[in-house]
């Protein structure tokens, strides 16, 4: 089985080299692993450093948003006929050691989509992020009918079937919620796997704020109109 690991990145020169280098070279049930960095119009050396670390780099000529970066990465993986695609954040908050756990239900054909949940082990997570995440989980439930403990997690895995069916329309953070609507729409099997979260000064400064919830709701309403 071929695995593609998609990392959407925007101005991540501080962490990208380290993150790409830390991706395991071998995983059980996987014959080939490729790291794909989607540089979403960064103004720093993100693309250059990712290439140096050994990643394949797709570059957006302008900044479109994290959702668009995901879509580009998923499209590339689909074109290249990868069997599994895992997505991770480029800020270093996800542990590459969890990749094995994330892809396991897919390799064993027990799930089509796997979500890495930070909420089953949220010790390192700031309280404000836990609260924001819970609000977003409720919004996700309203829009998709699926209850999840971590709707905003960027650590996910998809099999070939999910890749061929899912067609997200949004371009920002709302893609995290939209994916659940797609899971429901195509009746895909999904499971949650607890993951470790590494909060550093850098990763705390990244990600989305609670204020972004208004934008997310507006864009989700637009998508559903």
């Amino acid at each position: 089985m071929k695995l593609a690991i998609v990392l959407p990145a925007y101005n991540e020169e501080e962490m990208i080299f380290e993150v790409v280098k830390s991706i395991p070279k071998k995983l059980p049930g996987i014959s080939q692993i490729k790291t794909i960095v989607v540089d979403d119009g960064s103004q720093d050396r993100t693309a250059q450093l990712a290439r140096q670390a050994g990643a394949k780099v797709l570059r957006h000529i302008i900044n479109l948003g994290v959702g668009s970066a995901y879509k580009t990465g998923l499209q590339y993986a689909k074109n290249q006929r990868y069997d599994i695609v895992a997505t991770m954040d480029a800020d270093g908050q996800h542990s590459p050691n969890d990749l094995k756990k994330i892809i396991k239900p897919i390799v064993g054909n027990k799930a089509d989509v796997v979500i890495g949940t930070r909420m089953k082990n949220p010790q390192a997570m700031p309280v404000i992020k836990i609260l924001g995440n819970w609000i977003m989980n409720c919004i996700t439930y309203l829009f998709s009918g699926i209850w999840t403990t971590d709707s905003q997690s960027g650590f996910r895995a998809y099999n070939k079937k999910a890749l061929s069916l899912i067609r997200p329309k949004t371009s920002g953070y709302e893609i995290c919620t939209e994916m659940f609507s797609e899971i429901k729409k195509y009746d895909l099997r999904f499971s949650e796997i607890p993951i470790k979260v590494i909060y550093t000064k850098h990763s705390r400064s990244k990600g989305q704020s609670i204020a972004n919830a208004v934008n997310i709701i507006t864009n989700l309403l637009k998508r559903n109109l």
Partner: protein
């Protein structure tokens, strides 16, 4: 005596027309678009300074005085329609821009 609405409409008209004139001079806007804005805002200022014209026009057209409230209501409907059209266009442009940037990124990588 100049009322608030008259002052604000004259100020906004000056702002829009001068911006449109600048865009036209720099080749960013067609002459027809510039003329459209001059006429549109000229009319707005004219009606703000001489609101009696509205009643005269409607009386000449329909034979009755309909009042400023109804005129504002009609204007509001028109403005919402314009906003809706602008929203549709901007949404389409955004979608197309996203697709274009994605295609460029995928094309570049396939060449390597």
């Amino acid at each position: 005596m100049i009322f608030f609405i008259q002052a604000i409409s004259a100020f906004l008209a000056g702002l829009v027309i001068s911006k449109s004139w600048n865009d036209f001079r720099r080749g960013r806007e067609a002459l027809s678009v510039f003329i459209f804005w001059v006429i549109a805002w000229g009319l707005i200022v004219l009606l703000a300074f001489f609101p009696i014209l509205v009643d005269k026009i409607t009386f000449a057209l329909g034979g009755q005085i309909i009042g400023m409230g109804r005129i504002f209501g009609i204007a509001l409907v028109f403005v919402f329609f314009v906003v809706y059209r602008v929203y549709l266009k901007s949404d389409r442009v955004e979608t197309e821009l996203n697709e274009l940037v994605r295609k460029i990124a995928l094309k570049k990588i396939s060449r390597k």
